[in-house]
């Protein structure tokens, strides 16, 4: 017989059983004396570990860079899903320390759905002494010291009762994220290096999630351990009660509407199901929008890892398809090596890990990852990751050494990291990274571009650069993050053209940096716009630091002689123009400096956009702004907000600001010019005050309302103001030098026009439209002298179209304090 090397079957070794770098406690256990923890240790639900007085628990640092799906940190951790009772005593405390004595060298105790009772205990050297992700903690008479974080509580499902405990000499003492329940009594929280208590809550945007349903009830086929030959087609309802293998020369085709359920088999009692699919040939799971395919647990009480995975191994001779599928309750929803896979329009939810792969060619589009412990983990692959939503996972995306295009994704509200990119060749652009604990972490990347992203409102740092060289960070909005906007350590990146504002502590915090920070807008950050914490100088020329003296907002050698100097000269006198990088405003945002809107931009429903004093919003030709959320453009008399064309001040150079159901919106001390319609308002409770609306085709048009316009100018427009069934009050304003001052199309009785100067509008001060058959209340205005009726087109000219009641009227102009123009 000829020699054969038929590979494949033993690739399964890599996948069966689920090999873990950790171990689970399989029965109730007592620890005493010296306990060495050398690998991740899990106390599963239903198990209790009790630690006796005087015990020392020494935890070895992990040498592994990966995290198995059932664990949460890449450091060695003790994870509590059952119960941990630590019974130290006053004379014989329990100690948790690192085996090598190095700071932050083990993860700490992570309470993830379990409960922990601790007394007379010292916890040191951990990343987080105690991290309550979900569950309860009762700690008394204890010490949390020399950790990066002493105690972290996250979310409303976490609670802690902390009594007579000292939390000191950590970087951060107590961190409270998203309103956990903390009862605290007689504690000492002080001398923590950066902050004793950091509390942060972020907005949950509750995006609309894909959620596929199946109506199939009849169970067609049951598979145990099987090997398929040729092409096998699944449809209807299929139950897998073993390991189903599709060898190299076979193919599994799953038709639209199929439901694949996996029963739970847990032979090693670690709580993780083992049944799954092993595809070495190919898989085509091609659902449709109306008939999705569902992979899920067959158990009545479905958990997060009732079954293993759809494993695709060594399958890259064609593209495997996972389309319009919903994959849930798995240890790893999809898991592939050496495979070519497209995941499109798919829901990945409630898994320990959503997708994990390496050495593969992968395209993931328009898919939603939510409620997974970790959404996605990938290495050594070529990846296109576009238009996906990663929401409310514990950990978001972890990329290692990939050739990566990651574009137009929303990575929001994940409990820990949003996006972590380590090494590889990443291009990360036009993503929203918002409301995570950490936003974007870039580690050891030699190449890469991170441009045009919005990285906002993360609890801690927006962007962390740790060790990257030769990368570009440009055109990003880095805003409103809890601690630093950008945190830099051992990096030589180019940081250029970003808006870095409104972050809780430093706009940019530098430990060590040999790159350049130039041509950014860096302003209004909590402590400093730039803070240098290392000994080396930092090049930061040609940035705009807002209206304040930059020297005051930069912390460097001038403040502490042991620090490096910030070389900030020359200082820009005007902001850099920042093009808004996304097609929507998807998270609350505050605009400052100069913002260019290149194409039509929508402020999504539920989103607040604030435009701060002195800001210019410049529209490229034809571009506009649609507000479905709420806009608050509040300038100041000496620092108005400007809306204008980017390159040309002709009439109609840009489209309009359109408000749709944008209740609570405000424009005050604004100048709006060169638009087709400056403001176009539908069904919105709106206030316009102290605004100049100049040289547009139309100044403002509105329907419904209520709209209040006060102390504003409408000047040089074809039509100053146009109403259609508008409920409005126009008062103390100047409407002049338009062709038509006010055009009332329909239902004019809903308007009240009072105490204005209506003057010099070339056709009419008010023109009543053909569809209006109601009288209009326009008393007590000044009409420029003479007979006001001669400046009004109403039923006196065209019977039946309604009358403008202008009597009484003023004999002289009102003294209106003019807003900025």
């Amino acid at each position: 017989m000829s020699r054969h090397v038929v590979i494949g079957v033993f690739l399964i070794v890599l996948f069966l059983p689920s090999l873990s770098s950790g171990k689970a406690v399989t029965s109730d256990t007592v620890w005493s004396g010296d306990v060495h923890i050398e690998e991740n240790t899990l106390i599963p639900a239903g198990r209790t570990v009790t630690i006796t007085p005087g015990t020392t628990v020494k935890v070895s640092p992990s040498e592994n860079t990966k995290t198995d799906p059932e664990f949460l940190s890449f450091r060695t951790e003790i994870t509590v899903r059952g119960k941990l009772i630590v019974n130290g005593s006053q004379g014989s405390p329990v100690r948790f320390v690192s085996a090598n004595g190095e700071r932050s060298s083990w993860a700490g105790i992570i309470v993830d759905g379990g409960s922990t009772v601790i007394q007379h205990t010292e916890i040191e050297d951990a990343e987080t002494g105690i991290d309550v992700v979900k569950g309860s903690l009762d700690i008394r008479n204890s010490l949390l010291a020399k950790n990066r974080y002493g105690l972290v509580l996250t979310g409303a499902d976490s609670s802690a009762h902390v009594m007579s405990t000292v939390i000191k000499e950590n970087d951060y003492g107590i961190v409270l994220l998203n309103s956990p329940e903390l009862e605290s009594k007689n504690n000492t929280v002080k001398n923590n290096r950066k902050k004793d208590i950091h509390s942060s809550a972020v907005k949950d945007y509750s995006p609309k999630l894909k959620d596929f349903k199946s109506g199939i009830k009849q169970k067609n086929t049951i598979y145990n351990d099987e090997v398929f030959l040729g092409t096998v087609v699944w449809q209807g309802r299929v139950e897998v009660r073993g390991a189903v293998r599709v060898p190299g020369n076979a193919r599994l085709v799953i038709l639209p509407g199929t439901v694949v359920e996996f029963s739970k088999k847990d032979t090693n009692n670690d709580g993780i199901g083992e049944n799954g699919l092993f595809i070495q040939g190919g898989i085509i799971a091609k659902g449709t929008k109306d008939e999705p395919i569902i992979f899920r647990s067959a158990e009545k009480q479905k958990g997060t890892h009732d079954w293993d995975s759809v494993n695709i191994l060594n399958s890259d001779r064609s593209q495997n398809l996972i389309e319009y599928c919903q994959i849930e309750n798995a240890y790893r929803g999809l898991h592939f090596h050496f495979a070519n896979v497209a995941v499109v329009e798919t829901v990945i939810r409630n898994n320990a890990r959503g997708i994990q792969f390496q050495e593969s060619i992968v395209e993931i589009r328009n898919s939603h990852f939510y409620n997974n412990k970790s959404a996605l983990w990938a290495r050594d692959s070529e990846i296109m990751f576009m238009d996906n939503l990663i929401y409310q996972n514990y950990s978001g995306i972890n990329m290692f050494r990939n050739t990566l295009t990651l574009e137009r994704n929303s990575i929001i509200n994940n409990s820990r990291g949003g996006l972590r990119v380590r090494e590889g060749i990443p291009v990360v652009t036009k993503n929203l990274i918002d409301g995570n604990r950490y936003g974007l972490l870039i580690v050891d990347a030699v190449y890469g571009t991170f441009s045009g992203n919005v990285i906002s409102s993360n609890h801690e740092s927006g962007i962390s650069l740790r060790g990257p060289v030769n990368i570009e960070v440009h055109g990003n909005v880095v805003q409103g993050n809890g601690l630093n906007g950008i945190r830099i350590q051992d990096s030589s990146a180019v940081i250029r053209g970003n808006l870095i504002s409104g972050n809780g502590e430093r706009g940019i915090g530098v430990l060590s940096f040999s790159g350049v920070i130039k041509e950014n807008n860096i302003l209004n950050n909590g402590l400093y716009n730039l803070g240098i914490d290392g000994v080396h100088d930092v090049a930061a020329p040609a940035n705009w630091w807002g209206e304040e003296d930059p020297a005051i907002t930069v912390y460097d050698k001038n403040d502490d002689f042991s620090k490096g100097r910030a070389d900030i000269l020359p200082v820009r006198e005007k902001p850099v123009i920042l093009t808004w990088p996304l097609t929507n405003v998807q998270a609350d945002s505050k605009w400052q400096g100069i913002i260019n809107i290149k194409e039509n931009l929508t402020v999504n429903r539920g989103i607040d956009l604030a435009i701060l004093p002195g800001t210019s919003v410049l529209f490229s030709e034809g571009a506009g702004l649609v507000v479905k959320g709420r806009i608050s453009a509040r300038g100041e008399k000496k620092a108005p907000v400007r809306f204008a064309a980017l390159n040309n001040d002709s009439v109609g150079m840009w489209d309009e600001i359109r408000l749709e159901y944008a209740d609570g919106s405000v424009f005050s001390d604004c100048i709006i010019k060169n638009a087709t319609w400056a403001l176009h308002v539908h069904f919105t409770d709106l206030k316009v005050e102290n605004c100049s609306i100049l040289k547009n085709y139309g100044g403002m048009r509105f329907r419904s309302g209520p709209v209040e316009i006060r102390n504003s100018i409408f000047q040089g427009n074809e039509i100053g103001l146009r109403t259609n069934m508008g409920i409005g009050l126009l008062t103390d304003s100047l409407i002049e030098k338009n062709r038509i001052g006010i055009f009332v199309r329909e239902k004019g009785s809903l308007l009240k026009i009072r105490r204005n100067n209506l003057v010099g509008n070339s056709d009419y001060n008010i023109r009543v439209g053909d569809f209006n058959d109601e009288n209009i209340d326009a008393r007590e205005n000044w009409w420029g002298g003479g007979d006001p009726g001669e400046t009004i087109f109403d039923e006196r000219y065209e019977p039946g179209i309604g009358k403008v009641n202008f009597i009484p009227y003023e004999e002289k102009a009102f003294a209106i304090e003019l807003p900025a123009q």
């Binding site: 017989m1 000829s2 020699r3 054969h4 090397v5 038929v6 590979i7 494949g8 079957v9 033993f10 690739l11 399964i12 070794v13 890599l14 069966l16 059983p17 351990d225 099987e226 090997v227 030959l229 092409t231 087609v233 390991a243 293998r245 060898p247 190299g248 085709v253 038709l255 639209p256 085509i284 091609k286 449709t288 060594n314 890259d316 001779r317 064609s318 593209q319 398809l321 389309e323 319009y324 050496f338 070519n340 497209a342 499109v344 329009e345 050495e359 395209e363 589009r365």
Partner: protein, 243 residues
């Protein structure tokens, strides 16, 4: 007792023993050596560099499912990589493994294996099967060295007016016969009608379909010989039925 009677009794005994062994399952070494219609399976186990492998064992199964206890297992190969095994004639599936730890149980990292089982019709007195065993890394390296990567075809799927069509996908079939599920299919196309399809080298009939499986909701567009990556291969669909 007549000779043929003795043979018959022996045959019945051996058959019974064989059934028992099948039932009991694993780990019976040279178990059928006394059976009448037995054969010798022999051969050599080597590694990917053609060196003899000592200590490997050959596992024989009565079905292609080999993730279970074997019906027969050889003695470990000698220093020349040679093994031999006596067993009843019949149809088998055979693999070779070199395990560092126990003879049984799943393969562990570093263990070596010959891959998918080889089918064996054991009818004559003697048969020979040679195996090459490799560990995971070796196998993958070999695979990637020997395996042809698929070629990438990209383009748009458009109607006769050149406008992008959505809610469709592209397929590539080795024949014009569309009675079955196509050999290769793309994902449902984006709004711009852009598709990507991966196929091995060969000649294909390309088309677009609006339903999966296509049934009659497809259009064959063109024939294409694929030897390299191809771009801008537009697929014109004349008749698209909504899925």
């Amino acid at each position: 007792m007549k000779k043929h009677q003795q043979q018959r009794i022996l045959q019945v005994f051996c058959t019974a023993l064989f059934v028992i062994l099948l039932t009991v399952g694993a780990g019976v070494q040279n178990s059928a050596a006394v059976a009448e219609e037995t054969s010798v399976l022999k051969g050599m186990v080597s590694d990917v560099e053609d060196r003899a492998v000592e200590g490997a064992m050959v596992y024989v199964y009565t079905s292609p499912e080999v993730r279970r206890a074997a019906e027969f297992i050889s003695a470990p190969t000698n220093k020349d990589g040679v093994y031999s095994l006596v067993m009843p004639q019949g149809q088998y599936w055979v693999v070779a493994r070199l395990k560092k730890a126990e003879d049984f149980g799943p393969l562990m990292p570093g263990d070596k294996h010959s891959g998918d089982p080889e089918e064996l019709e054991l009818e004559s007195d003697e048969a020979e099967m040679n195996f090459v065993v490799a560990d995971l890394k070796e196998a993958i390296r070999m695979k990637r060295e020997t395996m042809e990567r698929p070629f990438k075809i990209t383009g748009r799927i458009i109607d006769e007016d050149g406008k992008p069509v959505t809610d469709v996908y592209v397929f590539a079939n080795r024949s014009e016969d569309m009675a079955r599920i196509p050999d290769y299919v793309s994902s449902w196309v984006s709004e711009k009608g852009v598709y990507t399809l991966y196929v091995p080298s060969g000649e294909y009939h390309l088309g677009g379909a609006s339903r999966f499986p296509p049934g009659d909701a497809y259009t064959l567009s063109k024939q294409l010989l694929v030897k390299i990556d191809k771009t801008d291969v537009d697929i014109v669909v004349k008749r698209v039925v909504k899925k």
